[in-house]
Amino acid sequence: MMGRRMMNASGKIERRNFLKISVAAGGGLLIGFHFPGISQFASAQATAGTFMPNAFVRIGTDERITVIVNHSEMGQGVYTSLPMLLADELDADWTKVGYESAPVDPKYNHPAFGMQMTGGSSSVWSGLEQFRQAGAAARAMLVAAAAQQWKVDASSCRTENGAVLNGSNRLTYGQLVNTAAKLPPPEKVQLKDPKTFKLIGKPIKRLDTPDKLNGKAVFGIDVKLPGMLTAVIARPPIFGAKMKSFDDSRARSMLGVRKIAAIPAGVAVIADTFWQAKMAREAVRVEWDDGAMHDFSTAQMMQDFRERAKTPGTSVRNDGDATAALANATKKITAVYEVPYLSHLMMEPLNCTVDLRADSCEVWTGSQFQTVDRANAAKVAGLPNEKVQLHTTFLGGGFGRRANPHSDFVVEAVQVAKAAGAPVKVIWTREDDMAGGWYRPAFLHAIEGGLDASGNAVSWRSRLVGQSIMAGTPFAAMMMKGKNYDPASVEGVDDLPYSIPNVAVESHQAEVNVPVQWLRSVGHSHTAFAVECFVDELAALAQKDPYQFRRALLQKQPHHLGVLDLAAQKAGWDKPLPKGMGRGIAVHFAFGSYSAHVVEVSVSDGNVRVHKMVCAIDCGQYVNPGIIAAQTESGAIFGASAALMQELTFANGRLQQTNFNTFPVLRMNECPVIETHILESQEKSGGIGEPGVPCAAPAIANAIFAATGKRIRRLPIRMTEAV
């Protein structure tokens, strides 16, 4: 497969593969060192001809307004929604507004979580005050600058579309940059009356779209540095396996190969290009000590989970006496729901570029966890944090994977850089990415419920078995807050919203050496499936309509009712469907927002087809309804993909799925019609990146029941397993 080796007289390999391009300069083939959207500065600072009133905005004499965004753009629209907040308070000319990713600095820490990161569907609600304040403060300084020039009172000035006005006087923000830069920042500013918002609340088009339509957007995998090498890593084939030895005698002499070295993460194969590195890796023979996980199988693990669920777990919630109420119930039902390990499967496989020098280290990657990643990179580099710069590129999807508590993909890239002795980009193949761990944990929910003689739900006991995401991370203490269970395991069932007098929730923490992590909607990705399917089963047991049954149990939950009613009404819940079709419903609260789905499916010859998903969302006061619709659709499709087709399984310690062919996602021809209906609300803002996910699986499963009379209790959905 590899081309001929080119040797010179001293036996060294020449870099003969590189190109001779006969193309005019400016023909679009030049390799740039400027990355649009990524901060070029050690810390975002004012430069000549600019005014930087605070950490979040820079205004140029050219009228450009650059908003420095402390959250990562991974598709959820923060490079638009956060600038909108700032620009609205600033009365900026929106056509002049741009964005830049923030460098790593405590001033860019997440206001609620105390570190620089993107996750938990929290960027907009946590940035609301921060970005509005920053815009208002900048505006106040520009007004003060104009007032000074005109020798008028600042209160007699107004602002509009990027300019300060007073009577017939008008100065643009660009014209005020130099005066404003000399003024002190205001101590306190007045925020706008929401009635006067010009941008907030409107479906403003995303700022990052143009660069995503012409190849200009720079993702981590696109970063290129002068003299940069590319590496792939041979990682252990089984979690916990250790390298015994490796033989690189054939690979070492392959074209373009620069170095092959053992590193803590495995064996790094470093070459001029990705393809050379990948081909050489195939020629490296590694002997592994398979370790304790050599016979691990998910089939056996789930069997163990089933056994464990027969015993009481750690109490998470205990209202009334669920056990006694179950014993006295007129009708009872028991169901066991199971969900598998899942891969985040971002379109852009993991990658990280590192330029490590004696006294500095620069890292380029699509990170969701800047503070943690920089600190972990610094530790491996043997440098203090301040000597490490981390540049956040666009993320080709994140879904939680790029917020790894151990910074796995950053740490190993720094390890590779130490071996490479040159700037290096580590690229994971799709197969590497899928086998690399940090999955959504597999879970089992055993639920028992009981009804009284009138068909009222009187008892509910949920018992969960699954791995903790938090245990073993630096966040365990903070997130678990002294609890002896992981809140991320039980979120979405510990706050069961239904008025049932006797509720018990118990958790069993499984110890399995498969690395697990948060995946879009985290615990809600499985708790909503179990809870909303079981409510449906109770409704059937009570011979009641599943929508009305929920309504009756949610009378004290106006927000749940709001989205439930909206989805049911928009979907035409009572309208009959053709034979073979069914309609299912689900409602769930997660990340500060309420969501309900009504889904229509058909089932024929064991094949499930999702035709339509009607989604209602209540995320309180919202910033950009266009982005909210996009995220709600995105969440529905993400949830439907998991429900219909995704599962990671292990046999003999080895992952059995490798790529999109064995771990599929919904494609265009399988994508249902999706409607999003946003509930108008003036209440506190909630999240939007994740709340659209949880309802998809239960609404689909419940629709299958409506169509066929069969229950789905295991994901992904297989009609052969329906009961």
Partner: protein, 156 residues
């Protein structure tokens, strides 16, 4: 030496002819708009045109381009003026954006062959392009919109 044209520019490369075109485009030519997603023609992120045909460049050896005309996302239009790019802007299609180069390149071939595509045509032409963010509904709308623009005399 392998010679071909990329976006109208002639290139000559001394490169292993079995190297996938994708990596030659990205690494040797520095055109990073074309993306790697799977390496086995499963996801379509690497879609380019060779002599006008949509090709998954992750599995096409660079030798296949020899003497031919390759078009990448950077060559779709110099200024976002292609009706597909305009429609993508109007429908605000991309989320993370990583797959969109491939989506656009597949859609461009569809519209050339079927200027007024039906939903079934869109399903057929676009099913090889995965979007993990789930922008499919907007892609569908944008393709219909681009077809309308073209029919109304938008230059293509």
């Amino acid at each position: 030496m392998i010679a071909f044209s990329v976006n109208g520019n002639r290139v000559e490369l001394d490169v292993d002819p079995s190297t996938p075109l994708l990596w030659v485009i990205r690494e040797n030519l520095g055109l990073t708009g074309t993306k790697y997603g799977c390496g086995m023609a499963q996801c379509g992120a690497c879609t380019v045109h060779i002599n006008g045909e949509a090709v998954r460049s992750c599995v096409a050896p660079v030798s296949r381009a020899s003497g031919k005309a390759v078009t990448t996302i950077e060559g779709l239009s110099p200024d976002l003026s292609n009706p597909l790019q305009r429609a993508w802007l109007e429908e605000d299609v991309p989320q993370c954006g990583y797959c969109q180069s491939g989506q656009l390149m597949s859609a461009a071939v569809l519209l050339r062959e079927k200027p007024k595509p039906t939903d079934d045509d869109i399903d057929q032409a676009m099913t090889g392009n995965i979007c993990r963010c789930g922008t499919y509904p907007r892609i569908r709308r944008a393709i219909h919109r681009a077809a309308e623009m073209t029919a109304k005399g938008g230059a293509q």
